[in-house]
């Protein structure tokens, strides 16, 4: 019974704060609401018997990624900028399209994905995840590390070049970072 109470409270929190993200005009409020929504999802992961992924959700999403979002919003000083609203036809199509999608998918979940069989005991601690990662999934794991390295290099190249271009330092040598990238490839 207590489990159901926790589920409904945190499901309502996740949905309400997700709505705040897409409806509020100030991106700082949106980012902080998204942190609360992700935290509620971490509670859902605990209810799904995956406490290790709940910890990862709080550390990686609510901690690292959302701090990056907030940092960029405040670096670009976006919270004082007025956002013009989209065209009415776009608003209408967006809301009706999303609602139609939701109704369709809930209908098909209710029709086909109702499991009368209760889920069995599920052991998803850090030990079994680590064993699976380094035995069956060791190649994708290494590929993800290379992908993260490529993302770091790409982010540095994109943002660093723009700053050099703006301050006029790199105006004569705008081609230089691209040339370096070619060499390093």
């Amino acid at each position: 019974m207590f489990e159901y109470l926790v589920f409904f409270v945190f499901a309502a929190m996740a949905i309400i704060f997700a709505l705040v993200v897409i409806l509020h005009r100030n991106p700082v409020v949106g980012a902080l609401s998204l942190v609360v929504s992700f935290f509620s999802l971490a509670v859902m992961y605990v209810l799904l018997e995956a406490p290790f992924l709940a910890a990862l959700q709080v550390i990686v999403y609510a901690g690292a990624i959302m701090v990056l979002f907030l940092f960029v919003i405040m670096l670009l000083n976006l919270q004082h900028r007025h956002e013009p609203s989209t065209r009415p036809v776009q608003q209408f199509l967006g809301y009706t399209g999303a609602a139609a999608f939701l109704i369709t998918i809930v209908y098909y979940i209710g029709k086909y994905a109702v499991y009368t069989m209760p889920a069995g005991p599920f052991h998803a601690d850090a030990r079994s995840i680590g064993l699976a990662l380094f035995q069956a999934y060791v190649f994708p794991f290494e590929m993800v590390s290379i992908l993260l390295l490529a993302a770091i290099v790409g982010a540095l190249l994109l943002s660093g070049r723009a700053i050099g271009h703006r301050t006029g330092i790199g105006t004569e040598t705008t081609e230089e970072p691209a040339g370096k990238a070619e060499v390093s490839r």
């Binding site: 997700a18 993200v21 980012a31 799904l48 018997e49 956002e83 994905a113």
Partner: protein, 100 residues
Amino acid sequence: MIPTTWFLILGAILFSIGVCGVLTRRNGITIFMSIELMVNAVNLTFLAYARQFNQLHGLIFVFFIMAIAAAEAAVGLAIFISLFHHRETIDVDEANLMHW
């Protein structure tokens, strides 16, 4: 034990909210946050099915999705910083540098 279907419906609602945000907003950062919301809804669905069928593969997928979302956030925000320095805006309707 909470039924798996409820988690699936919660994931569907969060995914639809994300779709709505991507379709109706102009602010690039908000669109990006809506995409993160959709990614998390998919993660919740993966975990619900992982528990239902007692498979560890769903958890590993969630792990990889988290790593790829981190990479995506870094590159996407760098693109928005670059766009802001060129155009002084992050309105996605203004991002038409590749428009013919």
